[in-house]
């Protein structure tokens, strides 16, 4: 039996666009274990979609190797396609077919007998609460509903690995929560889920393990809890100031109990360890620079990303 899951070794992808070279992936290594929900978190343009593209045989790697369930994606694309389900960022439902036909045809592409394919389509319509719209065409559906159909279609042939590229981008909060539930349902049935996202809440609440990617490189890979622990800060204090300046940031950094301090715009973000007296000392310094407002939060994956890159996830 071949190992389940996805193994990515030294994967690089270079696009030649209008004479210049774009290095979308600069030699990444990842291992997604069978049965886990794995999140690839990063800002737009970090290389997430390219990674999924290579794993799903739609993008040719410049170098490196990817296996899905032990099958090399380059050597045997059809065998890989058989065992994966894919939801891309695009609305790729077949517009010439109804919702029910979209599901049944997909099942037929994967070898189901037509009679079984229609049964399977009805089963999925019921599971995804889509039965009422079975005869609708994709253009008649809301974004959230269309995305539900795409996920239903992606699992119609019982794949063992499911790829979701930015599955909740552009969805309303309710549809997003519904989709999270669906993903957890697949996880419970033992399907390996590889998802990309630039929403840190999504990665944090859904994923067993998360890799943070930026500029085509993997920065860290661990469980969300371990990643948050890794910055060894208990609290994130954001100070909005009238006159933030470098000298102030330097002074804040020097305070005992402060892990790091970083300016961005009119704000300074200070990470602190749990230590008595740290807050009054920070406030005293901040007041001297005209403190307007202050918020305190627990560290999130966003904090991890910022402390690694100095930038926000939101571009």
């Amino acid at each position: 039996m071949e190992p389940a899951g996805i193994v990515i070794e030294k994967l690089a992808k270079m696009y030649a666009r209008r004479g210049s070279e774009v290095h979308a992936l600069k030699g990444i290594d990842l291992e997604v274990r069978g049965g886990e929900i794995f999140g690839l978190l990063g800002p737009n343009g970090a290389g997430k979609t390219t990674t999924v593209g290579v794993c799903t045989t739609r993008v040719k790697a410049t170098s490196g190797r990817v296996t899905v369930n032990g099958i090399d994606v380059r050597a045997d694309a059809p065998a890989v396609k058989r065992s994966i389900g894919v939801v891309t960022q695009f609305r790729t439902l077949d517009r010439s077919l109804t919702i029910r036909e979209n599901l049944a045809m997909h099942a037929m592409y994967f070898g189901l007998h037509p009679k079984d394919a229609w049964v399977r389509a009805d089963e999925l319509l019921a599971d995804f609460r889509l039965s009422e719209r079975a005869g609708a065409f994709p253009d008649e559906l809301s974004g959230g509903m269309a995305q539900r159909v795409q996920v239903a279609r992606a699992i119609a042939h019982h794949p063992s690995v499911l790829f979701l590229d930015e599955p909740t981008a552009g969805l309303d909060p309710q549809s997003r929560l519904a989709l999270w539930e669906t993903i957890e349902g697949m996880h419970a049935r033992g399907i390996t889920v590889f998802l990309t996202t630039h929403y840190m809440e999504e990665a944090e609440s859904l994923c067993d393990r998360v890799a943070i990617i930026d500029h085509g490189q993997i920065l860290v890979l661990d469980t969300p809890q371990a990643l948050k622990r890794s910055i060894s800060a208990e609290t994130v204090i954001e100070l909005r100031l009238e006159a933030p300046n470098d000298a102030l940031v330097e002074r804040l950094r020097a305070l005992p109990g402060v892990v790091s301090a970083q300016a961005s715009g009119d704000a300074v973000r200070v990470l602190t360890a749990s230590q008595d007296g740290v807050l009054p000392r920070i406030l005293a310094e901040a007041n001297s620079a005209g403190l307007k407002d202050m918020t305190m939060t627990k560290p999130t994956l966003e904090t991890v990303f910022i402390s690694l890159t100095g930038r926000d996830l939101r571009e």
């Binding site: 071949e2 389940a4 439902l93 592409y109």
Partner: protein
């Protein structure tokens, strides 16, 4: 949800299982196209029929009736000359449209081809299926046109099939060349250009495809007679002329079969490499 999810696949497929997997996926794609074609049958048949119907009606029914006759020479009626040509142009027009129109949208705007590209068979086979299905559709279009061009003219139409295998061969090859040309167009054009592509390729191809005159008659305009040899419809028209109206001057079968086969090979290569370039980054 039904059982059997998340089974582990083994890395190697037995050749037999692999062939079965490809065949079933191919069949699924055919079923999909059949369903769509059935849904659009009315629209498709109108698109197919209107041009030849009106053409035959005006030039082979109204013209003779009102005494405004074409001089076709050699005692052969104009109505007879245009039978193969109009069937040929129905085939090529439908072959191109059936592939190029949806493909341009699916590549450029909607990307809905992706689900078919993810079916478990080699990506090139997805393109081959599209060409094969559209070729069949084009052949049907040619057959649909036949009663119109045969029955409507008010002057005698003389059609004789001496060689059925030749006729079938020309029909099939004509369909395949047309849909391969359609895919070659569909993989290079984008949705905004499609009107332009039809104006610059499809219309000249049909007007200069020896539809309304046999190729041999072009001799007085030698440059045109040579220039139109790049047009696949010339060989389709001439082939159908040989098969359906042998009394009209026509090319030698070696010439049109050879040319159609060569064009098919060239267009197939362009179509498949274009398709792969569009779906795999």
């Amino acid at each position: 949800m039904s059982s059997g999810s998340a089974t582990l696949e083994s890395s190697t497929l037995a050749p037999r299982a692999r062939r079965a997997m490809y065949a079933r996926a191919f069949y699924g794609l055919i079923r999909r196209d059949m369903r769509v074609a059935r849904r659009e049958a009315f629209q498709l048949s109108m698109r197919t029929i209107m041009n030849p119907f009106l053409f035959v009606f005006v030039f082979a029914y109204v013209f003779p009736k009102i005494g405004q006759q074409f001089q076709s020479g050699g005692g052969i009626s104009f109505a007879t000359i245009i039978v193969p040509g109009l069937i040929g142009s129905a085939i090529i027009f439908n072959g191109i449209s059936a592939v190029a129109l949806p493909l341009v949208m699916e590549f450029g705007a909607t990307r809905e081809i992706e689900d078919r590209v993810m079916a478990p068979l080699p990506t090139a086979a997805v393109a081959v299926e599209k060409i094969v299905f559209s070729a069949a559709q084009a052949v049907v279009a040619g057959l649909v046109v036949f009663p119109f061009v045969y029955l409507i003219p008010s002057t005698p139409v003389s059609v004789h099939v001496n060689n059925w295998p030749l006729l079938i061969g020309v029909f099939l090859l004509a369909g395949l060349v047309s849909s391969a040309l359609g895919m070659a167009i569909g993989t290079v054009a984008n949705p905004r250009q499609i009107g332009l592509v039809f104006a610059l390729i499809v219309i000249p191809v049909t007007f200069l495809g020896c539809v309304y005159y046999p190729w041999a008659r072009l001799h007085p305009i030698l440059w045109l007679q040579i220039l139109v040899l790049i047009n696949p419809l010339v060989y389709i028209s001439e082939g159908l002329r040989t098969a359906l109206t042998p009394s009209v001057p026509h090319m030698h079968p070696w010439a049109f079969f050879g040319a159609l086969l060569a064009l098919f090979a060239l267009l197939m290569w362009m179509a498949l490499s274009g398709f792969l370039r569009r779906v795999i980054d």
